[in-house]
């Protein structure tokens, strides 16, 4: 029987939404294979999340516990995950392509002698073979990737797979795990997280981005817009604004920054280089505000306003505030 396993990422004491996306997709695949769906969580605080995973279709939740698993560490987490994969023998393993997933999935895969099919945006089955559809060249093209060896490990882009409720038992099984600590690893000295609820670009539902047209580091108009949308929105930047030092590099959208897939992408003062368009072209809805009628961004925008952003955005914010206050 072919079973499916997902890895549920916990960060700062909360389970990430990606875990529910993976659970929903994992359920769909497990049903098609006639198998069961399990989830792996790490750490002694993880049990509280089992009922939520059950809601999205998880049959069994394995909780790996051990002193070394209380905070994330690539080596020990990869050891624990590889151990559980070896023990429970799922045919398919899904991980989120978050920063932690990018750190964990390849290390786990290498321990098992396989490649993880990274950053997939959809999956289908051919018999028991998992086909992962993934963008390449930051989305300038796509290809179907297949893992030739078992277990088939794949990572999924956050915010893309559909969440669907499908209540199952979610039976909890605790597994105590002592990693091989002879393998040296790093020690976290300081974790400096932005304490606001600001979501990461790759996980935001709404992104407000400013480019060269911002003319400087004052992004208060865009910050105001993001604040009106609330915690599901965040700020992005073009390469031009990052290279000019107006915004931190972590804000950069594009081929040499982040590839994003929000529900709504609002580009302000961005002309739309090929690298930028590749990085945001799969956003569900795109709004562009730019005074240059010829800007390439307008070829991708669902709604384009040809005007000075400094005149439009304040009005936009006013309208938005009134509408969302209703």
């Amino acid at each position: 029987m072919s079973n499916v396993m997902i890895y549920g990422e916990i960060k700062a004491g909360k389970i990430k939404k990606t875990a529910f996306e993976l659970a929903s997709e994992g359920r769909r695949l497990a049903d098609e294979l006639g198998g069961s769906l399990s989830a792996v969580l790490m750490g002694s605080q993880a049990e509280q999340f089992a009922p939520e995973l059950a809601r999205y279709g998880v049959d069994t939740v394995y909780i790996a516990e051990g002193r070394e698993l209380e905070t994330y560490n690539s080596e020990y987490y990869a050891q624990a995950l590889a151990h559980l994969i070896g023990e429970k023998k799922p045919e398919i393993v899904l991980i989120g392509h978050s920063m932690q997933g990018k750190d964990l999935a390849p290390r786990t895969a290498a321990k098992l002698g396989v490649t993880a099919i990274a950053d997939c945006v959809s999956f289908q089955l051919e018999g028991s073979t998992l086909v992962g559809n993934r963008p390449m060249y930051a989305g300038k093209c796509y290809a179907q990737w297949i893992a030739i060896k078992s277990p088939q490990i794949a990572s999924a882009r956050p915010n893309v797979l559909e969440i669907a409720e499908n209540p199952k038992a979610g039976t909890v099984e605790k597994v105590s795990f002592s990693p091989d600590i002879s393998r040296s690893t790093y020690v976290t000295k300081d974790l400096n997280l932005d304490t606001s609820d600001k979501v990461d670009l790759t996980e935001a539902e709404i992104i407000v981005t400013g480019g060269r047209g911002m003319g400087g580091s004052d992004y208060s108009l865009l910050e105001e817009m993001a604040a009106i949308f609330g915690s599901r929105a965040t700020i992005g930047a073009s390469r031009a604004s990052v290279d000019a030092g107006w915004r931190p590099h972590s804000d950069q959208v594009g081929q040499t920054g982040k590839t994003v897939t929000p529900n709504l992408y609002i580009a302000c003062g961005i002309s739309g280089s090929i690298q930028h368009l590749a990085g945001m072209g799969s956003s569900k809805v795109i709004v562009a505000i730019n005074k240059d009628n010829e800007a390439p961004i307008f070829t991708k925008a669902d709604y384009g306003i040809v005007a000075d952003l400094f005149k439009v955005v304040p009005e936009f914010n006013k309208e938005l505030k009134a509408l969302l206050a209703e």
Binding site: A109, A143, Q275, G281
Partner: protein, 259 residues
């Protein structure tokens, strides 16, 4: 300080990617190849480390076809000392595990204090090879690094790395594998004397057999396709800013239903 930089040659980011009619890959004719941008940060960082310790060696390691020599040469022109080019058709299957195996095989033949990789190659976008290489060499990895401080005794490094919504500081024993993220530094350009000197710097050629590797890919790609073409939507021109803003906000609510 002896450093090894794993470098990949990739299509320039300006490249308009086209898929072959038989969907087996992309059209490579006329593509201009460059050093993967994240690997340039790696090269710059190890050159700075060599300067800091006033001794050592900077080695450039790359797996790829003949043209890869140009990318290695460019890194040598930036100031690296020597290159290792793993050039074997059997390895060029685009499989991250196979590349990590080749890099691990070549790494085992040299001495190093640290290995740098780009955190991601901007062509296939896997973000896997650095971590896989670390695992295959049984070394610790620190991914997405934006600041590196190596201790005087070269036994540990204090690293800053990107995490979602913040930054983490970690201490890692050397040798280790680090993957470079934007923000690490500002890479230098190759100088003219650098370019002249690079012509005489050695590049070792290796095959899979030299590294004791049997090329067995763990993944395969097929059915390449272009993204669905987005149609330009409505344009609001020559309107009062307030009117245009109102029209778009209303459309986002009533038509697109995203707010």
């Amino acid at each position: 300080m002896k450093s090894l930089v794993c470098l990949k040659q990739v299509p320039d980011t300006e490249t308009q990617i086209k898929v072959k009619p038989d969907a087996t890959g992309i059209v490579t004719d006329g593509i201009k190849y460059v050093i993967n941008p994240y690997d340039e940060y790696s090269v710059e960082e190890v050159l700075r480390l060599k300067d800091k310790f006033k001794a050592g060696e900077v080695m450039i390691l790359s797996v790829g076809p003949d043209r890869t020599t140009e990318a290695i040469r460019t890194a040598l022109a930036m100031g690296a000392d020597r290159g290792i080019h793993v050039n074997d058709e059997s390895l060029n299957q685009g499989d991250p595990y196979l590349i990590a195996e080749a890099l691990a095989g070549a790494s085992k033949q040299v001495e190093y204090d640290v290995i740098f990789c780009g955190h991601r190659a901007i062509d296939d976008d896997f973000s896997e090879v650095g971590a896989m290489l670390a695992e295959l060499l049984q070394l610790p990895q620190v991914t997405l690094v934006t600041k590196v401080e190596v201790s005087e005794d070269k036994k540990t490094a204090t690293i800053e790395r990107d995490v979602e919504g913040g930054r983490e500081t970690v201490e890692v024993p050397l040798p280790c594998v680090l993957t470079s993220q934007k923000g690490l530094n500002e890479p230098r350009y190759a100088s003219l004397p650098g370019i002249m000197k690079a012509k005489k710097k050695p590049i070792d050629q290796k095959t899979a057999a030299d590294l004791g590797i049997i090329a067995e890919a763990r993944s395969l790609a097929r059915n390449f396709s272009m993204p669905s073409e987005r149609q330009a939507g409505k344009k609001y021109e020559n309107m009062e800013p307030a009117e245009a803003a109102k029209a778009v906000v209303q459309a986002l609510r009533n038509e697109a239903k995203v707010i």
